[in-house]
C-alpha cells in the first residue's frame, strides 16, 4: 500500500538499553490522526499515573501529523507530549506545540514520531540521518547553552541538520526547562526540557532527504492558494513589513508579516533596527510553509540574534520601567534571549519576575532571603543573576527552577497568595501562567465567560488558543480599537454573523447581559466545546493555532471565516475524505481521550476551578466572574461532552460511543469510571 501523508513509521528509542525500534504508525492512524492525538494515544498506552515526570519510564513523544513536510500552510508545527513536570502540584499529561523547521525534517527523515523512554547512563544525543539512527556521545555537549550546542552539532553533521536541544536548565531537571530548535522555536509549556535532561539526552538531530507523498497534489495546491490569499498580500517593493495592497487588513493578532509583537514595542531596539546605518536589523522569518509569518529575525552586533515572538517582547517588560527613557531596549531583548540560551521557559519567567517584585515590595521576600538584587528589578544585573541561578539551581534559583507556582507553594503564606495573581487555575492541575484569562490580559482586561470556562477545563494554559483571541482582536482592529483595550460590547455587532457561522448562534457574540452588569454565560459551554474540538484537530493534523481555525476574516463584509480549511487540507494530503462535520466527531473523541488521561492522573471536576482572585477582582468594566455561573457552565459543558457532570469524568457510554472501549475498561479497573 502506498502511504499518503504519514511516513508510516514511529521510532522508539530505549535509552536505558541504548536500542532503537521501529513500530508502524498504522496501529494508531488514521484514527488518532497524528500530532497531539497520536501522542495522547501513546501516552495513554504507556504512561500510567504511577510514573513520575522525571522517571525513566516516562515517555517523551515528538509527534508530527499527516500534513508535516508538505506544502500545507503552517505545516512546520509538531507536538511534544508526555507527563509534564510543570503541571502543579500534581504532575500530569500535557502537550506543547513547536513551530519552525524541525517537524518537516522528521517526516523527510522517514518517521512520523519519536518516542523516547528510559534513561541513558551517560549524556547522549540522537542522530537520525534519513532513517538511520545512532545514539552518540554528548559528554562534550553537556553544559553548553542551546546556541552553542547547535553550532557544535552543525560543525559535525552539517548546517542542514535540524536540532532540538536543551540548555543547562534542562540538564538540571528544571520544571520550566524548554527544548529549543534553531533560534527560538521551542517546546516551552509543560517543562519537557527537564524530562529530556532526566533521560540524559542532550539533543535530537535530524537530517532528511526523503519525501512525503501527497495523494491529491493539485487539490492541495488549490486549497493552499486559497489560504495564502486570506493571509498575505505581496509586498514586492519597499518596506517588507508593510503590505503592498492598500486596505488589506491582517486578521491575526500582531499582524503577521514579521511585525510580531516586537513591532509594537517602541524603544531603543526598534529605533536601532529602523536605522540602516546602525548595524541592527530585522528580517521576516517564517516557519515552514507559513503564509502568516508572525515573527521577525532580529540581529545586531552586540545582541544575540534570533527570532522575536511575544515571549521576547514581553518577558522583561520591567526593564522598560526601570529605564523608561530607552523603552524596549537591548536589555529587554537580551533578557529573553538569555532565557533561550539557558533553556528556561520565558513564559514562566514572565510570571516569576512580577511575583518576586510583589513579594519584595510587601516585605515577604528580602534580598537577603533570596540573594537576588531585588531592588534592581528591571536591570541587566538582576535578570542575569536570576536566570543564572535558575539555570544552575544555585541558592534561591533552586526553588525557582521548580516553576513559579511550585516555588510559591513551597514558601507558602502570603507569597503563595501573591502567586495566585499570575497563575489562573487552582486545584491540583495548575502550574501554568495566566494567559488570556481576561480579554486584554489580567487584571485590567474584560472578563469573558468562555475564557474562564476554557481556563477551567483545559489541561494547560489556553495559550494555544490564538484563534479564539484572534476573532476578538481582529474585530477590535477592524473597528479601530487597540487589541489590548478592546471593549467587548463594541465587538458584539461585528461578531454576530461570525459567531453564528462558527458556533451556531448570533447570541454567542453577546458577551454581556442586557443590563450591562453581568456576563452572558448562555453560550460559554457550546463555544468552548466546539473550540476544544477544533483545537484538538488542528494540533493533530498538525497546523498552527495562529491562523487556524480561521474564524474571523477582516477583509470581507460580513467577516465570516472558513472553518473547513483544515479538513480540506487533510483530505487532499491523505486522500481520505473527511468532511468538516466528521472531523468534529474525531475532535470530540480526542478531547475525551485527553480528559480520560487527566482523570486517570487524578483530575476531577474539583480541579477545574480558578483561583479566588478571579471571583473577587473586578475587571476593567466593573464586572467579575461568578463562581455559580462558572459551575453552571461546567455542568453544561460536561453534558455536551458526554462526561459525568458530578465528577467531570467521561462515562463508559460516551467512551464506547467514540470507540475508546479499552480506555473505559482501564478506567473501570482503576475504579475511576463514573457509574
Amino acid at each position: 500500500m502506498k502511504s499518503y501523508g504519514w511516513a508510516g513509521k514511529i521510532l522508539r528509542v530505549d535509552l536505558t538499553q541504548g536500542k532503537t525500534y521501529v513500530i508502524p504508525t498504522w496501529d494508531h492512524v488514521p484514527k488518532f490522526i497524528g500530532g497531539r492525538g497520536l501522542g495522547a494515544k501513546i501516552c495513554w498506552d504507556e504512561v500510567p499515573p504511577e510514573v513520575g515526570a522525571f522517571d525513566p519510564e516516562n515517555r517523551l513523544v515528538f509527534a508530527t501529523g499527516p500534513l508535516q513536510g508538505t506544502l500545507a500552510p503552517t505545516s512546520g508545527r509538531f507536538m511534544v507530549m508526555g507527563k509534564a513536570p510543570q503541571t502543579a502540584p500534581m504532575e500530569s499529561y500535557c502537550r506543547s506545540g513547536v513551530g519552525g523547521h524541525w517537524g518537516p525534517e522528521l517526516k523527510w527523515a522517514g518517521y512520523d514520531a519519536i518516542i523516547i523512554q528510559g534513561r541513558s547512563p551517560k549524556p547522549v544525543y540522537l542522530w537520525i540521518n534519513d532513517g538511520a539512527v545512532e545514539l552518540l556521545d554528548a559528554t562534550r555537549l553537556w553544559g553548553l547553552d542551546t546556541y552553542q550546542t547547535q553550532q557544535r552539532i552543525w560543525e559535525i553533521h552539517g548546517r542542514n541538520a535540524r536540532v532540538m536541544t536543551i540548555g543547562p536548565a534542562g540538564e538540571k531537571k528544571s520544571r520550566i526547562a524548554i527544548i529549543l530548535s534553531d533560534t527560538g522555536d521551542a517546546s516551552g509549556q509543560g517543562g519537557f526540557g527537564g524530562v529530556m535532561g532526566s533521560k540524559n539526552l542532550k539533543a535530537i538531530v535530524l537530517r532528511g532527504t526523503g519525501h512525503v507523498q501527497v495523494a491529491r497534489p493539485k487539490q492541495l495546491m488549490e486549497v493552499v492558494q486559497y489560504v495564502n490569499k486570506l493571509f498575505t498580500r505581496k509586498s514586492a517593493n519597499g518596506d517588507p513589513f508593510t503590505p503592498e495592497e492598500p486596505g488589506f487588513k491582517y486578521n491575526i493578532w500582531g499582524g503577521g508579516y514579521g511585525r510580531g509583537s516586537l513591532g509594537e514595542a517602541p524603544g531603543e531596539l526598534l529605533d536601532l533596527m529602523n536605522d540602516p546605518s546602525s548595524g541592527y536589523s530585522r528580517v521576516l522569518d517564517g516557519c515552514f510553509a507559513c503564509p502568516v509569518i508572525c515573527r521577525a529575525h532580529v540581529k545586531g552586533p552586540d545582541i544575540v540574534n534570533g527570532v522575536a515572538f511575544c515571549a521576547q517582547a514581553y518577558m522583561y517588560m520591567e526593564s522598560t520601567v526601570y529605564d523608561y527613557e530607552k523603552g524596549y531596549s537591548k536589555v529587554t531583548w537580551q533578557a529573553a534571549k538569555m532565557a533561550d540560551l539557558f533553556g528556561i521557559n520565558a513564559y514562566d519567567v514572565m510570571a516569576i519576575i512580577p511575583w518576586l517584585d510583589d513579594c519584595y515590595r510587601d516585605d515577604i521576600l528580602t534580598e537577603d532571603d533570596t540573594g537576588l538584587p531585588l531592588d534592581e528589578i528591571g536591570s541587566q544585573r538582576f535578570i542575569y543573576e536570576l536566570l543564572r541561578r535558575m539555570a544552575h539551581r544555585e541558592g534561591f534559583g533552586n526553588l525557582l527552577a521548580e516553576g513559579g507556582q511550585r516555588a510559591a507553594m513551597k514558601i507558602g503564606g502570603e507569597a503563595q497568595k501573591r502567586m495566585e495573581m499570575y497563575y489562573t487555575r487552582a486545584g491540583r492541575f495548575g502550574g501554568y501562567r495566566e494567559h488570556w484569562g481576561y480579554l486584554g490580559g489580567f487584571p485590567t482586561g474584560h472578563a469573558l465567560s468562555y475564557l474562564a470556562l476554557l481556563w477551567a477545563v483545559d489541561n494547560r494554559d489556553v495559550f494555544s488558543s490564538h484563534n479564539l483571541m484572534s476573532q476578538l482582536w481582529g474585530a477590535a482592529f477592524t473597528i479601530g480599537q487597540d487589541a489590548r483595550t478592546a471593549i467587548p460590547e463594541d465587538l458584539t455587532p461585528i461578531l454576530k454573523p461570525v459567531m453564528k457561522y462558527a458556533y451556531g448562534s448570533e447570541r454567542a457574540a453577546e458577551f454581556i447581559t442586557e443590563d450591562g452588569k453581568g456576563l452572558n454565560w448562555d453560550w460559554a459551554a457550546r463555544v468552548v466545546k466546539r473550540h476544544q474540538e477544533r483545537t484538538l484537530l488542528k494540533d493533530s493534523y498538525t497546523v498552527c493555532d495562529i491562523p487556524f481555525p480561521f474564524i474571523f476574516n477582516a477583509n470581507t463584509k460580513d467577516h465570516v471565516g472558513d472553518t473547513s480549511i483544515e479538513s480540506k487540507l487533510y483530505s487532499a494530503v491523505t486522500g481520505i475524505d473527511m468532511s468538516e462535520e466528521d472531523s468534529y466527531k474525531r475532535g470530540d473523541m480526542l478531547s475525551t481521550l485527553e480528559r480520560a488521561i487527566a482523570c486517570r492522573d487524578g483530575r476531577t471536576r474539583d480541579d477545574d476551578v480558578l483561583f479566588e482572585k478571579y471571583y473577587t477582582n473586578l475587571d476593567a468594566a466593573g464586572r467579575k466572574y461568578n463562581r455559580e455561573d462558572l459551575e453552571r457552565a461546567k455542568d453544561e459543558f460536561y453534558q455536551l461532552c458526554g462526561w459525568d457532570a458530578a465528577t467531570g469524568i467521561p462515562t463508559r457510554n460516551k467512551l464506547e460511543k467514540v470507540d475508546l472501549k479499552e480506555v473505559a475498561d482501564d478506567l473501570q479497573n482503576r475504579g475511576i469510571l463514573a457509574k
Partner: protein, 223 residues
C-alpha cells in the same frame, strides 16, 4: 535503478516503446516536449527561426538562444519559509513533497538570519546544458520561455549538469532524484513558475524579456 543505455546519437534505444508511450498518454509533464525540441538539431533550428532573439556563439561555433524568462529573488523580503521548495516538489514531482526534490533551494543560515533563495538563472551560457552527454538538457521552445530544461525521457542520471553548475554557483541548481534516477532542474513550470505564485512575501518574481535575458553565468557567478 541502473542508468538507461544510450546509443551514440544520444537517443533512447527503445524508440518504438517511447513512441507508443507518447501516443497512448495524454499530454503530461513528461511528454510536453513531444512537439518541441527533442534534440540538439531541432534546438538549432529554433535559433534560426527566432531571429529576433539574441543568442550567444561559443568558440566552437554552436549557438545558444537566450532565455526569455527567469525567476529572480529579492533576499531582503525573503522570510525563509520554504514554501517555494514545497510547492515546487509538489507540482513537479507528482506530489512527492520534499525540500530535496525542489528545483529552487532555500539556503538558510538560521543564527545569522540570512535567508537566500538559490534560483536557477537560466544562464546566458548554460554550463549544465553544455555538460550533458546525451543532450537531455535542451532549450524549451514550446512554452516560449526558452528555459534550459531536462528532457526526463532522455536523462540518464549521470549528474554531469549538476557538477558543472556546482563549479560556478554556491549550490548546484539541478537536483538528483534518486527514486527515478534522473536529474531534475527548474523549467519555469511551462512559463508559470509556481514558486513565484505561492511565495507569501513576493520575494520571488518572474523576470521576462522578449529580447532574451543576459543573466546567470558568465555574468553572475558564485551566488
Amino acid at each position: 535503478m541502473a542508468p538507461r543505455k544510450t546509443t551514440n546519437d544520444g537517443q533512447n534505444p527503445s524508440e518504438k516503446d517511447r513512441t507508443n508511450h507518447l501516443l497512448s498518454d495524454p499530454i503530461t509533464r513528461r511528454t510536453f516536449l513531444r512537439n518541441g525540441t527533442t534534440g540538439f538539431l531541432s534546438f538549432l533550428s529554433a535559433v534560426a527561426i527566432a531571429d529576433l532573439l539574441d543568442f550567444i556563439t561559443f568558440p566552437d561555433g554552436t549557438e545558444i538562444v537566450l532565455a526569455k524568462a527567469a525567476v529572480l529573488a529579492d533576499k531582503s523580503v525573503c522570510s525563509g519559509c520554504r514554501t517555494c521548495e514545497a510547492v515546487c516538489s509538489n507540482f513537479n514531482s507528482e506530489g512527492r513533497n520534499a525540500a530535496a526534490l525542489a528545483r529552487v533551494i532555500l539556503d538558510k543560515e538560521y543564527v545569522r538570519g540570512d535567508y537566500q533563495p538559490r534560483v536557477c538563472f537560466q544562464c546566458l551560457d548554460p554550463v549544465c546544458l553544455r555538460a550533458c552527454p546525451v543532450t537531455a538538457l535542451q532549450v524549451d521552445k514550446q512554452s516560449g520561455t526558452y528555459a534550459r530544461v531536462i528532457d526526463e525521457r532522455v536523462c540518464i542520471g549521470c549528474q554531469k549538469c549538476l557538477k558543472a553548475c556546482d563549479q560556478v554557483f554556491v549550490l548546484p541548481r539541478p537536483r538528483f532524484d534518486a527514486d527515478e534516477n534522473i536529474t531534475i532542474k527548474c523549467h519555469l513550470c511551462f512559463g508559470d513558475p509556481q514558486c513565484v505564485k505561492y511565495c507569501p512575501t513576493g520575494a520571488l518574481r518572474l523576470e521576462r524579456s522578449e529580447k532574451g535575458l543576459r543573466i546567470g553565468y558568465p555574468i553572475v557567478e558564485g551566488v
